[in-house]
């Protein structure tokens, strides 16, 4: 606890405050812009790590991440296009509110909700992470493997409208993950004789290809039919009494959902936002307003996506397990500094961890200022002509990948993956599972093989450990869960609603 307080003292130095401010400002800007996300931005800024101390760089990268979550809501509400995939749920009610002239209230509940969640969730992180770090010291390969299985299952079963398509996306990602030198045997796999592939495909290449390039190609293909109008913010950006009363329970529930689901290895912020949306809709006393601008439908998801960031930090810091593309790049940043996240991080570098956590509180206060009084400046960004915006995204995407190794092959590979992303969008294959498959395959495989090498081939190594068993059961539960309502309905003789629950579109980034 003492180190948590000293973290606050550290973060209040001018340098760290400035870096946090730069981070959240950049984050808000890229959050507002559709198509350019925190993955690409952090990847572009990764060279900064050679010039800064690790704490400063990580404070800034974290700011970009959760700042992006906030910025995304502006675009969702005013443009009906999510600026970030984690803001998809916000478009439903947010845009409806804006159309009926209540854009100000929608933006306000999003900003204050993010602030509330952004303040509560680091408190949870402060208490949960050290506990988990202590448990994590006992984690053995079998447990890690069970954890990755849980991640694979939950992201494919809970996200997207079709399990088959989710699994296909996952296996495409797993294939990308196979490419390169196998860490355990040192043997080369699936490189087709290309030297550049020896080290595997970088997550930046895949994420930028699938998201930025795929999106640009998609926009080009739909050019003849796209019309976008930006709704203006006429009303003042504040809420009336009733709106406050309806917002705060949604914020609290959203924060709790966001943090807990973010902390489970289920692929970041998208599932919690949809879950929060669904729950608010069920609990609402104003069912008639849904679809026409119910404020809870903005308050809940926006609190959830912000809280999810603190949640994602839990497995990243304590288990070294990245559960989203951005988290994978944060992990790379840690490793550049020769810092290995995991149970030992809390002993080896407590200052860094707690300063980073403290920066989340401070950064959230900054975001509140950026998003309430200054919102009109961000709305201006949306007036950049689309063709220039997408050309710019392609320039930055190419730059991000090219600057990693000055490699022509990497850039071509990214474009090729962009084409795959274009077709995945077309055939409604969710992109999230592919990214998670790529990130986690090497981990899952290595831990599985290590577990069996340690047990000298005894498969029961996965059973007697309560931890592994529990995690594998949770994976099974995630697989079955979406079908439960339909099953219950059939048992009671009623035939209602869709066959399975759906928690998201699956374009997590």
């Amino acid at each position: 606890m003492l180190s948590a307080i000293s973290g606050f003292a550290n973060v209040l130095t001018p340098q760290y405050l400035l870096l946090a401010a730069i981070g959240v400002t950049i984050g808000t800007a890229i959050g507002v812009l559709p198509g350019i996300g925190p993955v690409l931005t952090v990847a572009l800024l990764l060279p900064l790590t050679y010039n800064f101390d690790p704490t400063g760089a990580l404070i800034m990268f974290a700011g970009i991440y959760y700042g992006g979550m906030d910025g995304g809501s502006t675009t969702s509400i005013l443009l009906n296009t999510p600026g970030e995939s984690a803001s998809v749920a916000t478009t439903f009610e947010g845009f409806a509110m804006a159309k009926s002239g209540r854009a100000g209230a929608a933006l306000a509940t999003a900003a204050v909700g993010s602030f509330v969640a952004g303040t509560l969730s680091p408190i949870l992180l402060t208490f949960v992470a050290p506990l988990l770090a202590r448990v994590a010291l006992l984690f053995q390969p079998a447990d890690y493997f069970a954890l990755t299985v849980l991640a694979f299952v939950s992201v494919t079963a809970l996200v997207g409208s079709s399990v088959i398509r989710g699994m296909i996306s996952l296996f495409i990602g797993l294939f990308f993950g196979l490419i390169g030198i196998d860490i355990l045997s040192g043997q080369v796999r699936m490189t087709f004789g290309i030297v550049e592939l020896l080290d595997g495909i970088d997550v930046v290449v895949v994420a930028v290809g699938l998201f930025a390039v795929g999106e640009a190609l998609y926009v080009a293909s739909q050019l003849r039919h796209s019309k976008e109008e930006i709704l203006s913010v006429r009303s003042s950006i504040w809420m009336n009494c009733e709106e406050w009363q309806r917002s705060w329970p949604a914020w609290l529930r959203g924060a709790l959902i966001g943090f807990s689901l973010g902390a489970l290895p289920a692929g970041g912020a998208e599932i919690p936002t949809f879950l929060s949306y669904t729950i608010e809709k069920r609990l609402s006393k104003h069912k008639e307003e849904w679809g026409h601008g119910a404020i809870e439908g903005v308050a809940g998801p926006e609190a959830a996506n912000n809280a999810a960031f603190s949640g994602v930090l839990v497995p990243l810091l304590t288990l070294s397990l990245p559960t989203s593309a951005t988290a994978a790049i944060l992990l790379a940043a840690f490793q550049i500094y020769n810092l290995q996240p995991g149970p030992l991080l809390f002993q080896k570098a407590p200052d860094l961890v707690w300063t980073l956590v403290a920066s989340l509180y401070i950064g959230n206060m900054m975001l509140l200022i950026l998003n309430l009084p200054l919102i009109r400046i961000w709305v201006k960004i949306l007036t950049i002509p689309r063709p220039l915006l997408y050309s710019g995204i392609l320039v930055f995407g190419t730059l991000g990948v090219y600057s990693m190794a000055n490699s022509f092959i990497d850039v071509l590979l990214m474009y090729a993956i962009g084409v795959i992303g274009f077709f995945m969008r077309r055939f409604q294959l969710p992109v999230g599972p592919a990214i998670l498959g790529l990130i986690l395959l090497p981990l899952a495989e290595a831990q599985f093989r290590r577990a069996l090498a340690i047990s000298q081939g005894d498969l029961s190594v996965f059973v007697p450990r309560p931890l592994s068993l529990g995690l594998l059961l949770a994976a099974l539960a995630a697989l079955v869960l979406p079908y439960l309502p339909a099953l219950a309905a059939r048992l009671t003789g009623k035939q209602t609603g869709p066959r399975r629950l759906v928690f998201g579109k699956g374009d997590e980034d």
Binding site: L137, I181, I183, G186, Q187, V195, L344, A405, A453
Partner: protein
Amino acid sequence: MQAALSATTGQTVQVYNVSGAGGTIGLAQFVNEAKGKPHELMVGGLVMVGAIQTNKAPVSLSQVTPIALLTAEAEAIVVPADSKYQTLQELITDFKANPTAIVWGGGSAGGTDHILVGLIAKTVGVAPNQVNYIAYSGGGEATAAILSGAVTAGVSGVSEFAEQVAAGTMRMLAVSSEQRIEGVGAPTLKEAGVDVALMNWRAVFGAPDLTAEQRAAIIATFAKMHASKEWQDALAKNGWSDFFRTGDEFNSFLNNEMTRIGGVLRDLGLVQ
């Protein structure tokens, strides 16, 4: 090294990090692009010697010009503090009796740590296909695995474990250098009865096709750098030990290492 070298030469030194595949990708780029350019240098070491062979790289270290050996670090063998093994001899006895039951954890397959375990097995007469070696992607990951009790013994650079050994959570059984290391309590492998010594060395190489004069000039520059205060400070700060050797001494050392490492890797089945 960047700072020390630029202080010696009075020029700015640019560093390009070409990561990947144990340095093989960097070497391939270097051989293709730097040919005959005396101002381009490359740093490589034992890891690269191994990686070139395991990755079936189309290039080799014999294509570049050896300049100077710079540093070397000894490897350490550790066990968690609550392990039943107090000495290396006890560990080796069990290793010979039931080889696969001893799980070795260390860095990437074919890297220095793996090579050391291979050399030990060969020396004490354990068949390579009985060596249960588990590769981790880095020292940090390996440390966590050792502490969790997942592996029997851990192998990595001495500095990687120093903190844990000082904190009493790990016990160092042996180091791989020829002589004991100051400030480290553990005996050398040779003292513990295993006739193996292995240093994880790093050296600097010049571009392919340099003239003898060019090579001599670069060696002179590095001799100057080696004597500089900046370099000695950098060694102390990073905990590297000095291993400065140039010219023929370096050449014959390099050839010996290439033969020895190639042999171990073939035994371990990493190179066909």
